[in-house]
Symmetry: C2
Subunit: 203 residues, 2 copies
DNA sequence: GCCCGGTCGTTTGGGTCCAAACAATATAGA
DNA sequence: TCTATATTGTTTGGACCCAAACGACCGGGC
């Protein structure tokens, strides 16, 4: 993992960061006093990590890839929340739940949880919040009373019809820096990551 | 977004899902009775979405990419939590915080929050949890008493020296399905997504 | 008909998550 | 020296997150 790292010194030729902070080993001779760029070169991060566990074989490509994956997911969620969801008092997860229930015209909670990639415990909480707000209803199954079925209300369907195009437009904004071929390739690679994670879970 | 979707009917030629559930418009004439594969073809999802907002121009490539991104990030976090972090009672975020403080030999809370991509409010809570467990200390700045500095304890450093190689090995497991060139390309594309999200935030 | 094993959703307990509001602190300018 | 503005971290309130435990329910086997 190479989680986004603090500012490095902008002084000419200086590669350490962040200096000027109390308590840091003083690798950097320059006091930090500028605005903070928020990105670190890979080389600097690898250097810092190697100082700690450099005697071990580390897979920097994997670390960098997973850290980028996590950051991109967070950035995407923040973007979609800020531009589309927050004004409707929705979180990413509550929107995903609404979306799944919407496109399949109702669904049982165990399947919604699976589709939304959240636990059933979480799904119970989220669906109760959405029920309280009037976006969906929860109904016990008639043939199997263990099951709870979710359906959008009229208000919920209207909300999704208005919201989903905006959400999708905001999704499209996130890939403007990529060619169509690059988008396809990234999506394929991400699926491989999911498959690898699931293989080790099941294995 | 095409969040992972529920099982579709496995009956020959049948493309609707998930049938057999109470409350669903009965598009599918087959009762569902098999184990549940957990993936839907893109075509089926697009068909379902188009039924709801098909009159609008939708960017399915963007939807699919962002949904894959979110799923991959969740799968990666679940994998790393299950295989490495949970036995040490650590969450993904608490680990990221420890890692950042570790590789930079101490850091101020505002920078740790930025590096870990979490808010300062969250960082306060997480760092207090880690302090309670003895992994790090929180110290008020001497020159600027608004600032709080985090440093790992001896136990915290020992924990990271033991844990990080295992964490990195688990990270490497996640990209076994990708060639080195594909990993590099995916990482580059993910960075583009982060940049696009940040451009619209600032703009 | 009864019992057992399994599944479902909920509850519990504790952790993370963030926006907004707040208190403490620092700094610049008059 | 005083005031105003800005920055920092914390608190508040509410939402989400999940493992584990639990109660309700279902279905198979005897």
């Amino acid at each position: 993992m190479t989680a986004a790292l603090p500012t490095y010194c902008t002084a000419e030729g200086c590669m350490w960061a962040p200096c000027g902070e109390t308590g840091l080993p003083s690798r950097c001779p320059h006091a930090y006093d500028g605005p903070m760029p928020d990105r670190h070169t890979l080389t600097e991060t690898e250097a810092a990590v190697s100082e700690h566990v450099g005697h071990l074989p580390l897979d920097f490509a994997a670390a960098h890839a997973i850290s980028s994956l996590y950051r991109a997911a967070n950035a995407a969620r923040a973007h979609l929340t800020t531009t589309v969801l927050r004004e409707h008092d929705l979180t990413w997860t509550s929107f995903v739940v609404l979306w799944v229930v919407w496109i399949w015209d109702g669904m049982e909670t165990r399947h919604v949880a699976e589709s939304a990639a959240i636990s059933k415990a979480t799904l119970t909480g989220v669906s109760k919040t959405l029920e309280q707000r009037g976006w969906l209803t929860r109904t016990t199954g008639e043939q199997d009373r263990r099951l709870v079925n979710l359906r959008l209300t009229d208000a919920g369907r209207t909300l999704m019809e208005e919201l989903y195009p905006k959400f999708n437009a905001a999704e499209a904004q996130l890939i403007t820096g990529l060619s169509p071929a690059a988008v396809t390739e990234m999506t394929t690679s991400l699926r491989r990551v999911v498959e690898a994670a699931e293989d080790t879970q099941t294995g």
